[in-house]
Structures are given as C-alpha cells and as structure tokens.
Symmetry: C2
Subunit: 347 residues, 2 copies
DNA sequence: TGTTAGCACTCAACACAAACGAGTGCTAAC
DNA sequence: GTTAGCACTCGTTTGTGTTGAGTGCTAACA
C-alpha cells in the first residue's frame, strides 16, 4: 500500500482541521472540506489505510481520527506550505525588537519574552557556544581594598562579571601583576581549554602568589564555565497551562524548563536551520505531548545560538515556523550589527 | 456573643485539621480530637456560633466546616504556636546556604531556589532599596575602541554592569574625563535622585561633550534605575501546580509571578519582621486563593530586602513561618558578613 | 443555662441505566 | 474503485436511586 496523492491530501486536511479545532475529524466533515468530491465512505477507506500506515490514531473505536506523531511528521516534511509573513506581521515583529541600545545579554532575554508573548507559547533562547569561543579580554576592577569585579569578555560578545573578595590588600602593583598574568595566560584560549587542570598548572606558575590569587583564578574559572555553558532564557512557561493536553504533566514540564541542566536536552546543539521535534521525538519523557521548534540564529555566518518554541503537539506549525524563522533572523541581524561593529573597532 | 476559650480551641482544631487533611471538618471528628470531652451536638452549637462570627465556612449545607480567611487570621494572630526549628532542621538550612564564595547577587537568587525546594512552595526574594542607597562608585572599562562596560557599585553592595557602545573612539583621555566627571556628579547621590531631570542638568554641564556621552549617561541612568527597582527572583512557581485549589487561576498566578511590575504588589515594602497576607487580604485578585508570607532580612541593622513564600491559603503556617524566619536570618547574616567585610575595607 | 440524645433533613458522591449521536466497518450494488 | 445502506461501537449526556457524612432543631436532662 502506498501513499498516493489523495491519501496525502486527506492526511493534510486532517492535520490542519485537528490543529484548528482540537476535535477528532470524521469522514463526513472531511468530505465537505476536501476540494475533490468523494463520499464519506471512500474517505473512510482511505482513513483506514492511513491508520494502518501509522499516520492516524483513533481515540476510541467510534470516534474520528487524529494525526499520530508520525502523521505530523509526514505533514511537516512533505505537505505543509508555510505562509510567508505579511508586511504587517514583519513590522510587528520588527517593532518588538526595536530597542534603542541593544545589550547582547538583554537582547536574547527579551527575544524569548517577545516570542512567548507573540505566539502565546513558551519560548526559549540560548547561546550555543561553539568550540572556538575564546577569551578576548580579562579586566579587574577594584571596588575597595579587598573586593574587585572580575570581567571576562568572550569572543562571541558575551561579557560576564563576578564580584570577588580576597584576603589581602589589593595594591595597584598586585592588581597590575595579576591582570597582566591573567591576560597572558587566558587570552585567546577557548573556554573549553580553561579546565580545572589547566587552572592548577596556571596556579603553579604563580609561584609564591599562588595562594593569594586562588579566589581570583576560581572566579575566572567560574566565569569561563558560565560563558561556555551558555546563556539560556525561558519565557511564557505559564502559557502552556492553557493547553489541556498538558493536564498532569504541566508540573513536570515547567519544572524541567526551570532546570538549567535539562535545557540542552530540550534544545540540543545543532549546526543550523530549523529543527522540529514532535512529541515522542523529544528526548525527555515529559515532552511527549509537546513539540519543540528550534531555529538557530547567526552572527555573521556562524550560528551562535538558538531560539525556540515549546507548545502542544497540536500547534500551528504552518504559522509558527515562518514566524520563528523571522524572529531568529532578526535576532541574528541585531546581534551581528552589534558585534561586527565591535570587530571593526578591534585593535 | 463572644469568642470564649472553648470556641477558640475548636477554631484552632478545625484550622489545624483542615490544613492537615484538606477535608471539611465535622463535629464528630472534632469531638474525638479535642482534649475536653463534649458531645458532637455541643460542638455543632459552637461551630454554628463561629460560623455566625464569620470565622468558618461551609462548602455545602450538609458538609463539615472549613476556616474562612478571617478564621485563618484569628488562628495565626492568637492561636498558633510556632514550633521552633530542631537542630537538624537548622543544620539542613545552613547546609543549603553553605557556599564557599557568596556573590551577593547569586546569594539572593539561590536563597529563593533553596527555599522553594525546601518548602515545595513558590519562593520569592527581593531587595528593597531604601531611600539611602547611594552610588558608591562608577567604573568604565573599555572593551574595544567603541565599546565599554559601565559598572555602578551601590552602597548596599549591589554591583551592576552594562555593555554600552559609543560612536567615537574611546581615547584614554576621554575615558578619564568622563570617569572623573561621572564620579563627581553621581557618587553619594541616592538612586532616587538620579532622575531624567537630574540627568539632563548633568548633560548640560558636559557642554560640547554632551552629545557624545549621551549613551553613557543613559546607561548609567538605566543601571541606577535597575538598582533602585531592586532585584527580585522567583523560584518554584511550578510547585503551585500541585495544589488543586489553584485549578484555573494557576495560569494567572504564574503569569503574574513572571511579571516584574507586579512583584511589588505581591511583596509590598515593609519595614521589618514577618508579614502574612491571607487569601483575600492580598492586593491582587489572582492571589485570592493564596497566602503570602514575607520576611525581611537585615544587613547589619537595616532591613535590606525580603524573602517570601507563596502557597495555598491552606498551608502549614505553624511550620512555614519559623522556617522562613530562619531563612531570612541566615540570608541576612551571610550578606552582612560579606558586606561588612567590605565596609571595613572602605578607604 | 449549658449539654446532650434523637431525629428528620440536606446534599455531594457514587453507581447504574437509558437515550443519543457522531462516527465507524462491512457488505453489496453500482 | 466508489458509494449507499446498515448494524455496531462507544463516549457523552441525562435521569434516577442509594448511600453516608454531616447538619439544624427540638426536647429532655443535669
């Protein structure tokens, strides 16, 4: 039995109808919807075949059909026609990003917030940190005699700081010494390289100063770690509560979304483009009833992070995918503007 | 009709029983529970009186009674005996705070996280920024020729930074000039004073440089604003989904908790001590079914922020209150250690 | 006057049955 | 290959009866 054209048309109609209404779709409804004229009975035969192929499911013997996760997959891969955004929609999204003075950190956070509000789904934004993100600069800013701010500037534009205390008086000489030392040892190194092992070798090189500067090295390590782990922001989690399909798993879902270490399972690293995980295709069990759409954004030509949507499996892919794509494109452009600008100015 | 001792004892028993089981409490159950011996009929008379006083409610004519919000109020104010923490409990909480290198920013965030996990409720932590928080220090850290990091150190120990770009080359002279200028104008000023109006007067003083440095002034303004608005962290929101009383309002509840501007309505400014808002006592409608317990924490002798719990009205106040108090005390102590340390080192 | 036993009453919760209807699968005819 | 016809399925809704925890009221008691 093969998937002929009519079967595909019926599958598409079922998926679209079900996405719209949330009700199982029956043969009669379909007969009215479809552009070719066939009787409900014929459609029933076709539906039965689609069921045998695993593309449809039947909640109970005497109800209409709903798409299986595989059915969605076929729909998305072969049948769906994404509608390009209208002028108005693009303007609306542009307006959401219309910040006077974009701070890269905030931009990512706000993008997730805007996306969540715009789509009424949960949104997530992350930086992927490819291997080649390196330390661009380390700064020490003294606050008082024993407190300073450590500042690490990464090659991907991320800047992180941390307040650190030491147990000796921070003289100008000591600061300059450590500043030079740290920059010599760290600049140009990839975040991955800066491991505990590397750190201890560096500590040895500090000789008699080693003990004094341990808190500072520790601070730098933490900062590099957190740049390497990447940023991530989730927004609009509560939107998911509106979808009844989540009923009991809602708690698990939100808990997972609030757990840093789980994020990479939800939004796995990908080179580029759009990735859609439908229901069971997700790695985590609590996402069996959700679909995750992730788009990478580029800074210049490198994909530097991802922005994604989390919603029920029954979600309007046709609409969401181009919208998400446009979000990612806009985000990437803004970040590029910001950072290329910096690169130009590089000494 | 007055609230004699027996009525109070019955009220306390009903509240405690209801908190424990979540079921309306009947006269027979009470008769068995109470330490004095009376018949269910007598208790029914008393319950009827408590009902007339507005301290009890009756879900339906033929069911037991549950405490009204006023009933909880009377219970909390007059009847409840908080059990002091056991040694073990204190150790457990201490362990949660056992961080080697407390960063004040992270500390607040982690405290909310720990509290949420420990109590299985939603937790919130905020800094209140009293009038007298002032700018202690401004630093400019150049990143490249047109990018710099603005750093504002506040008198309450909060340090905030922001990446800012300018459209001229940042020479050493210009940096030093603006650094000195900004410190002259801002240090010692309270965050409140740094208004848009103040800013424009400062801009005027910059004379010909005014246009160049506008982004920097804007950045400083934003940093001061965000220090003044205070920090706030919410954690464990998803825990609330476990309580069936929230059913439909759960969405509104979580949405509100994710909305920065609503936070001050949930955790209003207070001088010190513990504040409990039961159900309808809360300012926001979506909190009608929740109680909020807020404890302030002190740095030295000044109350500098608050940490709070959000849970269903039916929550174990007797247990939660002393636990929250201990959290607040511990948090305050840690922050004090950290910051007093800094003060000692002040030049 | 406060307490209590007795009793009729209420009402949510549960169980069961009947009716309904949207939708199916199958068969036989076109 | 398509379709009309028809029996069948099963979730949903509606209605009825039963149960039981719990009440309010009354009258008797200490």
């Amino acid at each position: 039995m093969e998937l002929d054209n009519r079967k595909l048309q019926i599958l598409a109609a079922i998926v679209e109808r079900y996405i719209l209404t949330g009700e199982p779709v029956g043969s009669k409804t379909l007969a009215q919807m479809l552009e070719f004229q066939v009787s409900p009975a014929t459609i029933r035969n076709e539906m039965s075949a689609l069921f045998d192929l695993g593309l449809l499911e039947q909640p109970h013997t005497s109800s209409g059909r709903i798409p299986s996760h595989l059915g969605y997959r076929v729909y998305i891969n072969r049948l769906m026609h994404c509608k390009p955004l209208t002028e108005d929609e693009r303007d609306e999204i542009d307006a959401l990003f219309n910040v006077k003075d974009p701070d890269p950190d905030r931009l990512l956070e706000d993008a997730a917030g805007a996306l969540a509000e715009y789509t009424n789904l949960a949104a997530i934004s992350t930086t992927i940190t490819p291997k080649h993100v390196t330390v661009r600069r380390i700064e020490l800013v003294p606050i008082d005699r024993r407190t300073l701010v450590l500042l690490v500037v990464a090659s991907n534009g991320v800047i992180k700081n941390k307040v650190t205390r030491v147990d000796f008086n921070l003289t100008k000489e000591l600061l300059e010494f450590f500043n030079k030392f740290a920059n010599d040892r760290f600049i140009g190194r990839s975040m991955d390289e800066i491991s505990m092992i590397y750190l201890s070798s560096v500590a040895v090189a500090l000789g008699e100063y080693s003990r004094m500067f341990t808190p500072l090295l520790g601070g730098l390590y933490e900062l590099c770690r957190s740049i390497n782990d990447g940023q991530y922001f989730t927004r609009g989690e509560s939107n998911l509560l509106e979808y009844k399909e989540f009923g009991l798993v809602a708690h698990d879902l939100l808990t997972t979304l609030a757990t840093r270490s789980k994020i990479s399972d939800i939004v796995p690293f990908q080179k580029e483009g759009i990735k859609i995980s439908i229901g069971k295709e997700n790695a985590l069990a609590e996402f069996t009833d959700s679909s995750v759409i992730v788009a990478t954004y580029n800074i210049g030509n490198d994909s530097c992070g991802a922005i994604g949507l989390i919603g029920p499996v029954r979600m309007d892919y046709q609409k969401m995918i181009p919208h998400l794509e446009y979000f990612a494109k806009t985000l990437g452009k803004l970040l590029s503007d910001t950072l290329e600008n910096e690169d130009e100015n590089e000494e």
